[in-house]
Symmetry: D2
Subunit: 349 residues, 4 copies
């Protein structure tokens, strides 16, 4: 049993971490912080937890957090980087679900998040927590930057094309038409998020630029070893009137070499040993509800033209796209079974 | 490990049983039948199960079912009663999620379900599977009639008023204004159930009469020991544009004795030892999403007038209102921990 | 052509007034105010209006408003009563869609709205704008208190029982189990209203007390001429995951006299000449979508027991429950056809 | 006043035609047919129409239809072509909302619709009813093939790029990532359409091929005058959990010439005189709800890279994508004001 702290327990990634960690066989959640709810029982705020925990929110107390083996930051961008060094110095591992440790490129970080990085040295030592692609580094890491939800779908959807080869696709052709449920925007009282502004409605957003674009670019550069070719990929996110769920429809031009490969088999082999990545049979269409509440990502492939590939990637943005992947990373860091606490089946219907 | 069979695995209660039983520590699902999908993998039909099972549908084969320790019938009304005797004779327990073993009153059964009962003798020996109220009988039962979803909310919402006393309320005053998500109607291709007929819409249905009315009457008679007083209670169900979830708003006139009792404490004590019934604090409003996917029922009480009680009862109609309660009954019948396989936390948001 | 002003044009009743008034044959909207959006085009805020108007928001300027023949207040409670006297003195009629002119009982007003009334004398001269019940007074009125959405359903649902007789029902038995879409709460950035807190969810709210209770009591007293008997009626509102729509399920105990009357015919005759109240045939269930966007209210009656009546009442809370009824009142005040601008058909599906 | 008939009045395009035509100043709907509902009042089936019409369904009677000036076919594919010749011979104009007169390429028609065409000669004389692009021909037409919903968004979204020039874009690069509400699939009792299979869910469908692909190809060939270059465009439709609404996100590679043009101005000028096509200001995102119920299509343009164009196109699939465009075509054919009966404002929220 390790001791776990969660900083920022009033948002959706916070309560999702609790849903997973309170049933995890190897952990005990001992600290749960909130700036606004100090002293309140968490199950008063989230009655779904009634009967499962007596935890109360407390103000962030760094000494308390240092007693933990690992601290999750389910906070706005910029919080984790203020405390990470002190925690690591106390031998407490840090998993940040915000963006503080996602981008190595500090120019991009400052541009998109509007703040200077507080600990660039620690950032260099941190590991980008895309579990399947960086597994060995994650096992050794003290600080994890848990990936953004959209970038998770793109990386796992495209990694097989780059991992063993740099000649299958034309990288500059990549178009990511992505769709997310509303919980991707967090638990915030803003006009744009209210029910009556989103129900029975569909729209694109962030077309002129979105924070996940530089993260996708940097990640694909790391995966492929190629630089300078991903900057012009298009990424257009859309908002779906649903609570959870994310589907990325990715369009890629194949090279002659790529067109000659049996990509269905290629993908199946690439992910053959992965518990949480499912390459579906040909002619499948991954539905977001098939992964509702589950730490699972499903992929399907289509070649509507000999040299054009369509990759469909579905996940629950709060699980494999956030809290679930964070727990998966924790499992790796502490040598637990990678699937511990993550074996729940998606809620369908 | 016991061996389990499920008859009728293509509906929502069937796939929900699988979601719960595939993660249950004490059972192995060995048989899954379907008239229409013989030979098909269940995870082809319900991709949420991919990676969790290799089960295939098979035609109903009574000899196979006899090899099971228990068989769940997640079928239309009238199927379980055709096979129950033969299974019981083979020492296989039966849990019917349809109505075949809910009503002891055969006149009502024939009136509301349009069929004669196939095994009235076995019906007499069967037990009505409202786990909390009939626990000891369930432990000994060979055949369980798993309660209807609405009747579960009514019984657990009103039982404390009758169990220790027959003088707290005026039974003839009871009004049940009930609201259900669409999954309560099952997985059926009928015009009334299509998305565009239900989304962004609200209506009452079955106002002139609903099958759950006689079940509620019979159940309240059994709970209270009173007869002839419940026939005139009103039960008006409504359809909510949501997938899962049920809320019953129950109105009861209190007697002078009832008005004098601290009903909040009374209810809390009545359910003090129950894992799956949650009496919420005063001024609470149970939301259906707080039990989404969880075998949990939440109750809140209000007294807007000194002699008028409002009882709010929320559950997930597919879990505590169907498959979850069926598993709870199985746990009782086989002396497993009553909570085994039912400890999942509700999915919020 | 009359000249119209709208105070508070950024909320849902404001934009709904615009949807109706911009297509109204007898009016010109000349003023549209907002404290926060001064100078902004209204179709920039609400693109549904693009191509239909060049109106811009302006700060509230009382001199401008005095140039109007009528001013609608689509504002929070407490705004209209600050300006009404000055407008009336300038011969400008006032229609308040908030609560300032709904309650004659000032004790109740102060209790529920937390403010003292600014113009109690004008309040006495104002008319409660339930168009069908107060038509003649409305025609003569200078100030209209437009009814609350819930009270509209209750009054039109129960008026026939009281209007010609005080012996048909037991008034103290009335229970109103009401359900509203989320737009009933307005356009406000609060946590309780965000999409992910309301979608796929159902709950009661305001069970311990709701502002519309005293309005319902006062209105039923006026309709029936009886006092002191309505205070104990129960009113329990619920929140439905839909945008628009309201259904009230009303339970009433009939007297012997009431049980002997053919209430279906009674209601049909009562509303025979009304354009906007539809008494549906027996065994109907009014769906909220059947009135989506339409100034229409539909009623259906059931007698599940000889002496128990169930009245189902459906409307669009933003139209017959707010902006539509306000326009209907304006039509009466200015001797336009009562249906002018209100003939649109409900949007189904 | 012209006399109108509607064949197939029980589907969503049928009831939407009624919603528009019953309020149209120049028409009288005299015939409404249904194979299954002969003799039933249409407002019994669709209570939203109560108070607006006394129409009853009748069996299809060709002599009755010949008395009409125009007949709309809101039927499955293959019905209109059986009756069109006889109607045209009787001087009755025909507007088919299904696919019988959309494709001139009979090989494609037979491939995608699985039937031989019944009147290929008449097909040659028919006009494809994309009102804005074929206005003059429509005015002279006897038979109109009303466009598919997706093709309408694509044509109006791309027409400016081709109409005055063939050198602005690389046609083979076009990718259409389209999203539709569920009503696009019509009113059909199939398992895939039920509420619980679609709510809170998102998926692609028809990725391997969709009937609207050949229609898009043929239409773009006609618009551009180029052939052989559009066959390889990608079209991937998705299903959004909403009732109405369609958004197409279209990706196009620009040529050097195209990159040099101010496309925002180019589009605004192209559609300057159109009532139903709205080129939104830069940085807009057209929401489907902004056109809910309205015969309106909104376009926004983005150039995230100097040579890459993203075109966002939103419409209500049942209005500008079906019934509204059909009425617009009728207005053209009978020299009514093009906007007659189509001036309703979108329902927001």
């Amino acid at each position: 049993m390790i001791s776990v702290g969660i900083v920022g327990g009033t948002g959706y990634t916070g309560v999702e971490l609790l849903r997973l960690l309170l049933r995890h066989p190897n952990v005990q959640v001992n600290v749960l912080t909130s700036r606004t709810e100090d002293g309140r029982r968490v199950d008063d705020m989230f009655p779904s937890l009634r009967g499962h925990t007596d935890l109360k929110y407390s103000d962030l107390n760094i000494e308390q957090l240092k007693q933990c083996d690992v601290v999750f930051f389910a906070t706005p961008h910029g919080v984790a980087m203020k405390h990470a060094e002190e925690l690591v110095a106390a031998n407490t591992k840090v998993i940040d679900l915000a963006a503080d440790f996602r981008l190595q490129n500090l120019v991009q970080f400052e541009k998109w998040y509007g703040m200077q990085h507080a600990c660039p040295e620690l950032l260099k030592d941190s590991v980008y927590g895309l579990s399947e692609l960086n597994r060995e580094k994650i096992k050794q890491a003290n600080v994890i930057g848990n990936p953004g939800c959209y970038p998770t779908t793109v990386q796992l959807g495209l990694a097989p094309l780059f991992k063993h080869s740099d000649t299958l696709v034309k990288p500059e052709s990549i178009i990511i038409d992505a769709k997310s449920g509303v919980s991707g925007a967090g638990r915030k009282a803003s006009m744009g998020m209210i029910y009556t502004e989103n129900a029975d409605n569909f729209k694109a957003y962030g077309v002129a630029g979105h924070r996940h674009h530089p993260e996708i670019v940097e990640a694909l550069e790391n995966i492929s070893g190629q630089t300078g070719v991903f900057d012009q990929i298009l990424f257009v996110p859309h908002l779906v009137p649903m609570i959870r769920g994310m589907l990325s429809t990715i369009y890629v031009d194949l090279t002659d070499a790529g067109a000659a490969v049996d990509l269905q088999t290629w993908y199946e082999q690439f992910y053959a040993n992965e518990s949480f990545v499912d390459v579906m049979p040909e002619n499948s269409s991954p539905e977001t509800r098939s992964v509702r509440g589950a730490n699972q990502l499903r992929i399907a492939l289509y070649k509507p033209q000999p040299k054009k590939l369509v990759v469909l990637v579905a996940q629950d943005n709060l699980v494999k796209g956030a809290a679930g992947q964070a727990v998966q990373n924790m499992n790796l860091m502490f040598s637990f079974a990678e699937t511990a606490g993550l074996e729940g089946i998606g809620l369908l219907p």
